[in-house]
């Protein structure tokens, strides 16, 4: 592979001049520039990114580190949406995206540290998980660059993109109440996942109930690990304890699919059917039958914002204030794929 020196020799200029042309410096005569460009083209020269990185102390790569195993990351639709948002922003800004999913959960955070200390990447986007706050302290101490996909501790005021699910669950509950439902189940997210905003979904649900003057009953609440199986099991469990249940809100779309399946298996159709509200409003959910209304999860936006934030942090050399995004709620009509905004 040709080097900058080969180009310089061919163009009969100094290496520095070639470097100037590569970096679009204006301090180079037009004629010289053309000569250099011609030489570069002739040799099919491409600047060695590694050498540039070493010199500039900057790799233009960002790590995306997830601590939940590849079968989770590459199969969880929300995670993919976050990844897609991050990718889209970074690639437009000339950064490469390095995806790292350690084989073992407990290695994940060390992996994030290694990746940055190695100077492999200029910064990382971290998925919250147990022990992440220690890692963050170390990042801060060593002045390394990071952004977290969600708040990781009481003290964290910077470098996060959090999603507040209160509005979505509030509106969903309010909607179901407006349809006349009085026993509304909630299949909530599990506390076994690391999340700072653990109670937002529950709070929105409670607020709407309170507003309607209906007492909150914990027997109507379950927790699940976001999976199909958990949606299935939890719906059955809810029904056993609350035979009069007529509606249920699910914290995630896969759990929604599981709940729908359980309803089907139990033969609950027609008048005895159960109204289900989905959690994420993923593309597939938008096409599901029966059509379901859904809370919306701004996963793509979250990933994109995190990408933007890490780039800003790197470029400006200092932390950025955290950002809060909010969920919404859409009512799905019976017609194929149609959706309208609630209260709009």
């Amino acid at each position: 592979m040709p080097t900058l020196y080969d180009v310089a020799k061919l163009a009969k200029v100094s290496p520095k001049t070639v470097s100037r042309v590569i970096n679009q410096s204006h301090l180079v005569a037009e004629e010289t520039r053309k000569k250099v460009l011609a030489a570069m083209k002739k040799l099919d020269y491409h600047p060695n990114a590694i050498a540039t990185s070493l010199k500039r102390q900057r790799s233009n790569m960002i790590g995306f580190v997830v601590p939940y195993g590849s079968e989770f990351v590459f199969q969880d639709p929300n995670m993919m949406e976050q990844l897609r948002g991050t990718h889209d922003y970074l690639s437009a800004e000339g950064f490469e995206l390095v995806v790292t999913v350690p084989q073992h959960k407990k290695d994940a955070l060390q992996e994030a540290l290694r990746l940055t200390k190695n100077r492999h990447v200029d910064g990382v986007i971290l998925y919250p998980s147990l022990g992440v706050d220690e890692i963050i302290s170390e990042f801060r101490e060593k002045n390394l660059r990071y952004v977290t996909l969600g708040i990781c501790s009481e003290q964290q005021t910077d470098n996060f993109v959090e999603v507040d699910q209160t509005p979505g669950s509030f509106l969903a509950t309010k909607y179901l109440l407006s349809l006349g439902h009085r026993q509304i189940g909630l299949i909530n997210k599990s506390r076994s996942f690391f999340m700072y905003n653990r109670d937002d979904l529950l709070n929105g649900y409670r607020m709407a109930l309170e507003e309607a003057g209906i007492a909150f009953r914990s027997s109507l609440v379950r927790e699940g690990n976001f999976t199909f199986a958990d949606g299935y099991a939890n719906l059955r469990s809810l029904l056993e304890e609350n035979p009069e249940l007529t509606a249920v809100i699910c914290a995630s779309d896969p759990m929604t699919y599981g709940a729908l399946r359980a309803i089907h298996d139990l033969g609950l159709v027609g008048d005895r059917s159960i109204e289900v509200v989905a959690g994420d409003n993923l593309p597939l959910t938008q096409k599901l039958f029966p059509q379901v209304s859904s809370m919306t999860n701004p996963s793509y936006e979250q990933g994109r914002t995190a990408g933007k934030m890490i780039v800003t942090i790197i470029n400006e050399g200092r932390d950025q204030p955290g950002v809060n995004l909010k969920t919404e709620f859409v009512i799905r009509q019976k017609e194929l794929g149609k959706a309208t905004n609630f209260f709009s």
Copy 2:
């Protein structure tokens, strides 16, 4: 950040000795090793991967380049499975995975070239697309490392991992015939996607029909772009032209979901229902209701094999013979999630 020299100074040894310790050379006395290790720990030293890359002319990064836009890559479940397979293999081998999805299709191949010529990555895994054969010639010419997820031209004998879908569709058709179906539709993959093995699915289908002495009728075949919408539209179109249709085979799972939705919307239940065979046997499909039998698509294995192949190519410094994987077929029983192998 501390450098190797800082460690050397603290441990009172030469830089080379530190380097030896890092690289697990056996040519270093145990006592010296301990001293160095202690110094490394004390300084929280991490080798600068960029510097190592520059020296070694090797970045230990692999690019994964897809030419279909991020909304396709990060939403197509098969692509994710391929990515997951690649990631799992590479990360176990100490390689980083760089995911690149150019904003515009036509840039994709240039992007792949740039990434390798830049020395950003040691090699790339390429998704077949129009014009990829030219890129491959250039890779060969310049002695750059690549693997393609599928054969890209008549001449390509090396560096690919292809999936032959003949067995799956043959078995699927045979199974449907064994149930007594005589009008079996096929929603095939579209020719607008770049694929060398365009006719494998169709061939398996035809072979099974022929074996049963049933004439092939092109009116029973449609093509779709793998999406829900195409499955939906094609099922309706098939039924319009073939009112007696009793079964259909779909080339992809999203198309399967669309077809099931169409069947539901048309009110085809009970005796007049249509037996559907899915295309990929994705996790979600395995839990679908109604339960559907499915061809299986070894996407994870394909990605993993591609990862293994690119590493071998890089390590051995020469091309590797292409690998062919095959699809299979599973019959799904009515019980939740249960599946059995066909003919086993």
